[in-house]
């Protein structure tokens, strides 16, 4: 039974860790996109400004 529990925990654990990594990567990319968009918006405001 120990082997079974080890098997389940490793497999599900790996899948869980990968899930976390995916969510983290997606969140980081969303942040970068938001940053890039706000910078571009700021630049566009400068173009219209002076």
């Amino acid at each position: 039974m120990n082997y079974v529990i080890a098997g389940y925990s490793i497999v599900l654990g790996l899948l869980f860790l990968y899930t976390v990594q995916l969510i983290w990567r997606r969140r980081r990319l969303h942040r970068l996109v938001a940053l890039a968009q706000s910078d571009a918006a700021a630049e566009r405001r400068d173009e219209d400004g002076p």
């Binding site: 098997g7 997606r26 890039a36 566009r44």
Partner: protein, 290 residues
């Protein structure tokens, strides 16, 4: 026209339908996995011959199926669709890449779960069993694809290269399968009794097995969707990501007292970067650069 906004293409926001599809699939995946674990570890009875070890059957064949057929098959088909001129679209390339990465994870799970099942069954963690060997070789082929993908290149060049690599590997898979199978069975000396990992399944065990397949397929789908999205965002940000990251660093250390020049900025890479060294002074600086 600022060179930066000319370069950066902003990714389309995910449509609410796509967002909710992903969320629902994710929730269904979690629920079905939890259910499978509950059924597999507690409710179902142990096997006559394998005892409690049979419980691994609810996970191992399912991850194997996802890794080898679903993920790899999808990657191969998507690569073909990219190569076919009429259906060429970076969508297929990104889908293939996502499928391969998720497939690698599932492949590792397959090898580990098979190895853990093998230890009490065969006495060793690894044996050159036909299936383990083929799966290991497939993992190496998958990893090769991922390594190829990391080589910096134009998106279309990279897509074509990777699609060809996937095609060459896919074509090899049946040959590898047969050669490894024959390797075991056509061997001169008789192979020692090598108990198969497939037990006879009936009743509640059969349902749990089916549930396991469904659950892990849902997990795969969710991972695929998220990984695809990640790939899409990465491609759209492209070089803009580096600029943005540098800007982020500089914005953290901004002291809004400097003049219209961009004094002492660590970045002298190119004008688009210098123009936003100090967000507060953006107007005069960008005027200077332009």
């Amino acid at each position: 026209m600022s060179p930066q906004s000319a370069k950066a293409q902003f990714p389309k926001a995910q449509s609410p339908k796509a967002l909710w599809t992903t969320r629902i699939i994710g929730m269904a995946a979690v629920v079905s996995v939890a259910f499978t674990v509950w059924l597999g570890l507690w409710i179902t009875p142990p096997d006559k011959t394998q005892g409690d070890l049979v419980r691994l059957v609810y996970l191992h064949p399912a991850v194997a199926w996802v890794a080898l057929y679903l993920a790899f098959g999808l990657a191969a088909v998507a690569s073909l669709l990219y190569l076919w001129p009429r259906t060429r679209s970076l969508f297929w390339d990104r889908l293939a890449a996502a499928a391969v990465e998720v497939g690698v994870v599932f492949n590792v799970c397959t090898l580990i779960s098979g190895s853990i099942w093998g230890r009490p069954t065969w006495g060793v963690y690894w044996t050159w069993d036909a299936r383990l060997t083929s799966t290991a070789l497939l993992l190496i082929l998958f990893l090769g694809y991922m390594a190829l993908r990391r080589v910096p290149a134009d998106p279309e060049v990279r897509a074509k290269r990777c699609a060809f690599a996937a095609l060459f590997a896919a074509v090899d898979v049946p040959i590898v399968h047969f050669s490894v199978l024959w390797w075991k069975t056509l061997h001169q000396g008789a192979t020692v009794l090598n108990p198969d990992l497939s037990p006879q399944i009936h009743g509640s065990m059969a349902w749990t097995l089916l549930l396991g397949f469904v659950a892990l397929t849902l997990v795969f789908l969710w991972m695929l969707l998220v990984r695809y999205r990640i790939g899409y965002l990465q491609d759209q940000l492209g070089t803009g990501e580096l600029d943005t990251a540098i800007r982020q660093r500089q914005a953290e250390g901004v002291v809004p007292a400097a003049g219209s020049e961009a004094p002492g900025t660590p970045v002298s890479v190119g004008s688009p970067l210098a123009s936003v060294a100090q967000p507060v002074e953006a107007a005069p600086v960008s005027g200077v650069i332009r």
